[in-house]
């Protein structure tokens, strides 16, 4: 009789600067399936991990924001292509955490289509939301949108794949770079998504994904002086919400609260989620011989 094969389990690490490091703190926490069995040990990201990630995201911002809109669109499309190719991996990951097969399938489909949706916006939001301003003096005056910079975000807690993708896509579509804290309870799909990012054409450092505790990291996310905007979509505990708002005032961080209850609904995808992370720049230029 053939010997029973022992399968090889994946180590789930974080995603920072195109690498998959463990937490510098050496800490992990347990991720369980819906029956309470251990799935894997997830990294418990620390303040230092976050600070490293922000530094890397800042370094990647110049390059990413100066890519052409067309190029960013193609890269988002490429992420969708790679994700389509790894459906089985996500099916395997969503099943044990409570998704029925049809639900998991729908979740993956919607996530892929969402990437395509925002891929399409990269070279269009400027046309829809920018403007030529008919000022009264002899000046050519126009307003264009430019990415805010480095965005720190809490991915939705209860939608570990679709929700995660729905938050990342509009941020990077607009030329920002980001540091994302994955769903605390269901961290594993975020790392598989990081593998998708890593095998598509997204430059390293544009998306960085940490796993760990919101309770612990909320303060660091909101106080960091080189983070330009912070975003969350869940209903946060009152105290945490106030703390984030207050901390934001340290460097006038933009706080983007976009409550989404149903990630399949129409409200879950909108160009306004792109413009949330944009600054308006107006240029005056004289007209005359």
């Amino acid at each position: 009789m053939a010997e029973q094969r022992i399968d090889v389990k994946k180590t789930y690490k974080m995603y920072i600067g195109g690498d998959f490091p463990r937490s510098e703190s050496g800490r992990t926490y347990k991720a369980f399936d819906s029956d309470g069995n251990l799935l894997a040990n997830a990294c418990q990201g620390s303040r230092k991990d976050f600070r490293d990630a922000v530094k890397i995201a800042r370094g990647a911002f110049g390059g990413w924001s100066s890519r052409s809109a067309y190029n960013r669109g193609q890269i988002l499309y490429r992420i969708a292509e790679m994700m389509e190719d790894r459906r089985d991996q996500f099916m395997r990951e969503l099943g044990p955490i409570g998704f029925k097969a049809a639900e998991a399938e729908a979740d993956i489909n919607a996530a892929i289509d969402r990437l395509i949706y925002y891929a399409g916006w990269t070279d269009k939001y400027q046309q829809v939301f920018g403007s030529i301003n008919p000022v009264a003096s002899s000046h050519f005056n126009f307003s264009m949108l430019e990415p805010t910079g480095v965005v720190a975000a809490f991915a939705p807690e209860k939608s570990p794949l679709l929700g995660l993708v729905s938050v990342i896509a509009p941020i990077i579509a607009g030329g920002n770079t980001c540091v994302i804290l994955a769903s605390e309870e269901f961290p594993l799909p975020s790392i598989s998504f990081a593998e998708v990012l890593n095998s598509s054409d997204v430059p390293e450092g544009v998306v960085n994904i940490l796993t760990g505790s919101r309770e612990e990291l909320a303060e660091h996310f909101s106080t960091h002086m080189d983070v330009n905007a912070m975003c969350y979509t869940d209903d946060l505990p009152k105290g945490m919400k106030k703390m984030i708002d207050e901390n934001a005032s340290l460097n006038v961080k933009r706080i983007i609260k976009r409550p989404v209850k149903d990630w399949y609904s129409e409200e879950a995808q909108t160009p306004y989620f792109v413009t949330d992370f944009q600054e308006t720049k107006t240029t005056w230029h004289p007209v005359g011989y």
Partner: protein, 500 residues
């Protein structure tokens, strides 16, 4: 004095007065683009309802390579019955599957086309150069990448149309008849099909009779992409086939790119019907060079404006208007630059100027060369060698012309540039605007405010400043006056395919 001459004799790259002597020192080795991998069938049928079908009258016409005058293949001639069949197929698809699928899924089909075009880009580039005579460097680096980019851009619009039309529910027309020219065969196809599909229309498209190859190859690609039958129909033929499309009762919208003469005939044919139309017609673009312009940059711009694609460009900058103070300098530098252009085999990667698209056009351009001289212009042509066979014309300058000369007023569609001078900005603008056309103009100056002032006074749909012949799917394109109605490209290009 002799001192200067000695210096001139030896080339010094840093000296502003020295120039490279390409003719005696430089010789380019051939750099042929491999073309064996691009398959061409002996004959192409019509693409109707997702199938390749024989023409009802069984007639075919030959297509030749203008660089060698050799036959490449033959195409089916579509007559009234075939057009009717194509329109029915398009109508069926419009009322059937194409209207039923969601905008999001419609977009995904268009993305597929874009991606597959990118994958097969080199093959399309080679065929485009073989069939139409344009240098491989252009079809490889400009035409085909833009084709994919237009499909990619409009694919994204499919499920976002409500953002492009505030306060209105965007709805397609239905079946669109589209007729395109021979100067950018596949690119013009993309300009027509991509926005039409994104907005939910179905199409019957006729490529030009001298350049149908890539359109039929595209039809094969459409099949590979699995698009529903009848959404895209490609019919080949000449003017009569085009007329059958224009006059078909069940077509909702006509989109035409071509000459102003034919555009006028189409507009007249559509009189009294409810058919919508957009026309992208001829041009006679002016290049206005001011004394404060960066001269070397301007000279490069002029070369690109008129000799790009053998001057077969509706928005070509075919009239140079140069301010008097720098006229001699610009003309001299232009002549020097002309000496460096390589005219010849379109499939050679070093070639700058390829073959004139067809025998007919070759004769037209030659007629204008004679006419210009008859009208009293001074002619200057590059001294380059040209191949014995094929339709080649040396890059040409006409100086000593006046505003009323026919070579200044009429669109030649060949590598011929007329040169005039002006003193004041207003004079330059008046001359620039003084033709029936209004497609595109260029302005060269280092002074930003002048760009906007001059630009605002130019009566043309496109103004290029310190650059020329730039295209992008996000950027609208189209003419004022007799250069056409409507815009293609960009968000504005969607409007051509949406009910008003």
């Amino acid at each position: 004095m002799s001192n200067t001459e000695t210096k001139e004799a030896t080339y010094k790259p840093t000296s502003p007065n020295s120039k490279l002597d390409f003719e005696s020192v430089w010789e380019y080795a051939p750099a042929p683009q491999d073309s064996d991998f691009a398959e061409v069938k002996d004959r192409y049928e019509l693409f109707i309802g997702g199938k390749f079908v024989k023409p009802s009258k069984g007639r075919y016409f030959k297509s030749t390579n203008p660089a060698t005058e050799e036959e490449i293949t033959e195409f089916a001639e579509a007559t009234q019955k075939d057009i009717d069949k194509a329109v029915k197929a398009a109508r069926k698809a419009y009322e059937g599957e194409w209207s039923r699928i969601s905008a999001k899924e419609r977009g995904k089909y268009i993305y597929r086309i874009a991606r597959m075009l990118q994958e097969r880009a080199r093959e399309f580039a080679v065929l485009e150069s073989m069939d139409g005579g344009k240098p491989i460097r252009e079809s490889r680096d400009v035409d085909i990448p833009l084709v994919a980019a237009y499909f990619f851009y409009y694919a994204g619009w499919a499920d976002k149309l409500e953002y492009a039309f505030p306060g209105k529910k965007p709805e397609p027309y239905g079946v669109c008849g589209q007729i395109i020219p021979w100067n950018f065969p596949l690119l013009m196809l993309a300009w027509k099909i991509a926005p039409a599909l994104a907005t939910g229309n179905t199409v019957v498209l006729k490529p030009a009779e001298t350049t149908s190859l890539t359109a039929l190859k595209f039809a094969e690609l459409v099949k590979d992409c699995g698009l529903p039958d009848g959404v895209i129909n490609i019919v080949t033929g000449a003017g009569q086939t085009g007329a059958e499309i224009v006059n078909h009762q069940d077509i909702d919208k006509i989109a035409f790119t071509g000459s102003t003469n034919v555009g006028k005939i189409i507009q007249k044919s559509l009189a009294g019907t409810d058919k919508k139309y957009t026309l992208e017609l001829g041009g006679k673009g002016a290049l206005v060079i001011f004394e404060d312009a960066p001269i070397d940059q301007a000279v490069e711009g002029i070369i690109n404006a008129i000799y790009f694609n053998q001057g077969h460009v509706c928005c070509a900058g075919s009239r140079l208007l140069v301010q008097e103070g720098v006229a001699d300098k610009v003309i001299q530098k232009l002549k020097d630059r002309l000496g460096t252009l390589i005219v010849g085999d379109p499939l050679d990667k070093n070639t700058d100027v390829g073959a004139i698209n067809s025998k007919e056009q070759f004769e037209t351009v030659n007629k204008y060369l004679e006419l210009g001289v008859e009208e009293g212009a001074d002619i200057y042509q590059a001294k380059c060698s040209i191949p014995e066979n094929g339709y080649f014309i040396r890059p040409t300058l006409f100086t000593n012309v006046s505003q009323s000369n026919r070579v200044v007023q009429e669109e030649i569609f060949g590598p011929i540039l007329t040169v005039q001078t002006f003193r004041t900005a207003d004079e330059g603008i008046d001359k620039a605007n003084n033709t029936p056309y209004g497609l595109a103009n260029g302005v060269w100056t280092d002074k930003g405010s002048k760009i906007f002032k001059v630009g605002s006074k130019m009566r043309s749909g496109v103004v290029w400043a310190n650059t020329y012949n730039k295209f992008d799917p996000t950027s609208p394109f189209g003419g004022y006056k007799e250069s056409g109605v409507g815009r293609e490209g960009g968000m504005h290009g969607l409007a051509a395919y949406i009910r008003n």
